[in-house]
């Protein structure tokens, strides 16, 4: 069962620019699915449309095309019943700054029948939040933790995090991620996280979707993605050879003397080695695993050059 499903989702913003027809479309034809119990990371550069996609899913914006279903309900119909099972955390969300941390928790508690006072107490201590201090007096990281606390204490079925790490120092990031990880281990929670902070996301996610200029490039499980990307280094035994036409799934090929490097985007040990041997006979082939960040950068470059080519 999918906890979130979008089909051909598109959304736009109203602008003051008549030349843009008063509206500018920032998300086009986004289709994705988040399986229940998984941690889904939506990756993309700044302005890729991650926040807009989340706003469309959370009924903060109305889709212009397509639909999003969250917890099995059309996003446009999301109401208190569904929100009582969703924890939404965004750096843009305005907190009632005049409240203290304690007042915020006291205010939120009655809205959630599943509010867990013991968990609240535990997280409050873990996050080291001063209960009596007003939210406006807290640092950015502390405020983020207060948001997280007020969204975790009722054990939501779905936790939606929009750019949760931006502007946080490494220590707070670590506490934040640890909080999410620990709590998600307590139950069968699903997490949807949007970020351009790939290292942090890598520790959390099972599924990855990459969004670029409002379009979904792919959605894939982390395991599969990390498995199919390898940095290949080939040592040419018989001296330098001229690179000929290479397969399309070999990205960023480069040659330095007797060494050829490229990224295999559909790596399968036997098939890739066989293909290498066909291209470079008698060469030694070495395959190195890649981090999610490296894969993301390669894909982003490839998309950009593809887009440039299409424009030309």
């Amino acid at each position: 069962m999918n906890i979130i499903e979008t089909t051909g989702l598109a959304g736009n913003y109203w602008t003051t620019e008549f030349s843009q027809g008063w509206r500018t479309e920032v998300v086009h034809d986004v289709t994705l699915a988040v399986p229940a119990g998984s941690v889904f990371a939506l990756l993309g550069a700044n302005g890729a449309g991650k926040t807009t996609t989340i706003k469309l899913m959370m009924n903060l914006l109305a889709p212009t095309q397509g639909e999003a279903r969250v917890l099995g309900v059309d996003s446009r119909q999301l109401g208190p019943r569904e929100y009582s099972k969703i924890g939404y955390i965004s750096e843009n969300q305005k907190l009632p700054d005049w409240m203290s941390v304690r007042q915020l928790l006291d205010y939120c508690r009655p809205f959630y029948p599943t509010w867990d006072a013991a968990l609240e107490k535990k997280l409050l201590a873990q996050f080291d939040l001063p209960p009596a201090r007003k939210l406006k007096q807290l640092s950015r990281g502390m405020r983020m933790k207060a948001r997280l606390l007020s969204s975790l204490a009722y054990r939501p079925t779905l936790l939606v995090l929009d750019e949760p790490f931006s502007g946080l120092d490494p220590l707070v990031r670590d506490e934040f991620v640890r909080g999410v990880l620990e709590v998600s281990e307590l139950g069968d929670w699903s997490v949807f996280i949007s970020s351009h902070d790939i290292e942090e996301v890598e520790r959390l996610c099972d599924w990855i979707g990459v969004l670029d200029i409002g379009r979904m490039q792919f959605v894939e499980s982390t395991e599969s993605l990390l498995g199919r990307f390898r940095r290949i280094e080939i040592s040419l035994a018989g001296g330098a050879a001229r690179l000929g036409a290479l397969p399309q799934d070999w990205l960023e090929p480069e040659q330095q003397g007797e060494r050829v490097r490229f990224i295999a985007s559909r790596y399968e040990r036997d098939a890739t080695e066989r293909a290498c041997c066909e291209q470079f006979p008698a060469a030694a082939v070495q395959a190195f695993p890649m981090t999610l960040r490296e894969i993301y950068v390669v894909l982003a470059r490839a998309n950009r050059s593809k887009a440039k080519g299409a424009a030309a």
Binding site: L60, P80, Y83, I86, Q93, K94, L95, P110, F111
Partner: protein
């Protein structure tokens, strides 16, 4: 409901300081009211300053109400995508309920609660209190409704203030335009148009508020408001049908009015505007009432079938001398002093010889010349065009008037002795005689010239006392004279009004051994009486004439 109450408590905690300031402002108004009714008001400058301060406090109170509503709504804004509440399990209906409870309690209930002890102190009955409560709620609604509409369409206080300013300017320009063309239409049609415009704005505002709280889709809400505003403006300027007859139904005949007869006595053109004034004489009015106002439909007909008709014209009334006041004050006429009467008759003969005319009774209620004690003249003014006026002059038409007359009965509210620093409450009024100031007088052959006393009175008056006069009542000789205030300044509490009045008291005089003297003991037997003229009923009459001859306007030559 629990969650609604929970949100309300959050809002109250959030706005507790502004709410406290609002409460203090209300308390300050009550304290200033109390000071206005004190003996310090004998000082005209002090009363003026304090009255101005009171009006200022009230105006500030309305502005504070307006801003408080904005703060209340904008604490959980309905526009944007970054609000805290919107991804929490809070329904729009629940939020709307909480906001309405907060507005109702803070801006409706609290003012009534603060004013209630004052109203009781002023001697208001439950009817007055209910009336005042409704008035307070109505004024607060007028202040709050636009704020609520605008606040639901914004997410920042700065934008709220900007849009409020724009709305104020639009309303101002619209009203100025309306007032410019006011005279071109019958008052009842203008009244209908204003009601229609206000009604449309309120309905459309309510729809926008509901829609914003329930769906938070800004473009449709703005479109609805724009349509509503356009419709309201169109109704204010071009609504064609007069609907006032729906709520101004025919009077149910009051007993005792069956014998009232009516006839058209005169018609004339107003010198300045050329409007046609039709005057009717009412005869046989009940003794205990006066006809104070009325509405009429007037139709002119020519033999060729042409008709000219105007409906719901306000009637102006001139009264004949009338005995209702004697009934209300239970005055028993006492036989007048023979020596004085004899002297007055001599004086009258002398004046007649000198072709002078002096009305000895001008202290009494003014009356229309030539009308008896049970008579009144009512006049309707028709707005007519030049061609119609020319035709009326050339060819006098038949005229029919369907008049709905309202009667009022005088009622004694309070009667205080003429002494300094006496005060009394009751029947919707609190009155305080704060000063009696003797004035210089000069004896002449014809009487004492100049006033004897200036009495300074401050009073608080309930809103349903729409017409009230002071009388100098002499229980010794059974006379009552209406008093005119030489100056009267008002402070306007929303629920009533506080007035300071400075009135001249003239003692009754007797002719004794070749000179005029004040009647001995007059001050002890004279009281200051506040008399309200309350609506007591009415009647309808159809009045016809076959030939309406119009007098030419006086040119003043």
């Amino acid at each position: 409901m629990n969650l609604t109450w929970h949100i309300f408590k959050k809002d109250f905690r959030r706005l507790r300081l502004p709410a406290l300031a609002w409460l203090l402002l209300l308390a300050a108004q009550v304290i200033v009211s109390e000071r206005l009714l004190s003996v310090r008001s004998a000082d005209l400058n002090w009363f003026l300053l304090t009255g101005t301060l009171f009006n200022l406090l009230e105006a500030v109170g309305l502005v504070v109400s307006y801003i408080l509503v904005a703060f209340l709504v904008l604490d959980d804004p309905l526009v944007g995508t970054e609000m805290f509440w919107v991804t929490r399990p809070i329904s729009g209906a629940c939020l709307l309920g909480a906001k309405l409870i907060a507005i109702g309690l803070m801006l409706g209930f609290v003012p009534v609660l603060v004013w209630l002890p004052w109203w009781l102190y002023c001697g208001w009955g439950w009817g007055d209190i209910v009336h005042s409560t409704l008035r307070v709620l109505c004024v607060q609604t007028i202040a709050v409704a636009p704020a609520l509409v605008i606040a639901t369409l914004t997410n920042q206080i700065a934008r709220f203030l900007l849009y409020s300013l724009l709305l104020l300017m639009l309303a101002w320009v619209g009203l100025l335009n309306l007032l410019t063309h006011w005279q071109e239409f019958p008052a009842s049609l203008v009244e209908t148009r204003l009601w229609m415009a206000a009604g449309l704005f309120l309905v459309c505002g309510a729809v926008v508020i509901g829609k914003q709280f329930l769906t938070r889709r800004l473009p449709p809400s703005v479109a609805i408001l724009a349509c509503g505003g356009t419709l309201a403006a169109a109704a204010a300027f071009w609504w064609p049908w007069d609907l006032t007859r729906i709520w101004q139904s025919d009077q149910k005949p009051m007993s005792g009015t069956e014998r009232v007869s009516a006839r058209i006595v005169q018609a004339s053109f107003e010198a300045a505007k050329g409007n046609l004034v039709v005057e009717c004489l009412l005869m046989g009015l009940p003794e205990d009432s006066i006809s104070a106002s009325g509405i009429a439909d007037v139709e002119l007909r020519w033999p060729d079938g042409t008709r000219f008709r105007q409906d719901h014209l306000k009637l102006s009334v001139r009264l004949g001398e009338n005995k209702s006041l004697q009934h209300a004050l239970m005055l028993q006429p006492v036989e007048e002093d023979s020596e004085t009467n004899k002297h007055r008759e001599e004086m009258a003969r002398e004046f007649k010889r000198r072709a002078l005319e002096i009305d000895w009774w001008k202290r009494r209620t003014s009356r229309a010349p030539g009308t008896g004690f049970d008579e009144a003249i009512v006049s309707a003014t028709l707005v007519i065009s030049q061609p119609i006026a020319t035709r009326i002059k050339a060819e006098p038409p038949a005229c029919s008037v369907w008049a709905r007359i309202t009667l009022r009965r005088p009622e004694l509210l309070l009667e205080l002795p003429l002494r300094e620093d006496v005060q009394q409450s009751g029947k919707g009024m609190r009155m305080h005689v704060v000063q009696l100031k003797p004035e210089k007088r000069k004896p002449t052959k014809y009487g004492m010239v100049g006033k004897s006393l200036t009495v300074t009175v401050v009073y608080e008056q309930a809103p349903d006392v729409t017409e009230m006069h002071f009388f100098q009542v002499d229980r010794g000789d059974g006379n009552a004279a209406i008093l005119s205030g030489s100056s009267a300044m008002s402070a306007f509490p929303i629920s009533g009004k506080i007035v300071g009045a400075w009135m001249d008291i003239t003692p009754p005089q007797l002719w004794r051994t070749d000179k005029w003297v004040d009647r001995p003991g007059w001050l002890e037997s004279t009281t200051l009486s506040a008399v309200a003229y309350r609506e007591s009923g009415g009647f309808n009459r159809e009045i016809h004439t076959d030939r309406l001859v119009v007098q030419e306007p006086e040119t003043g030559e």
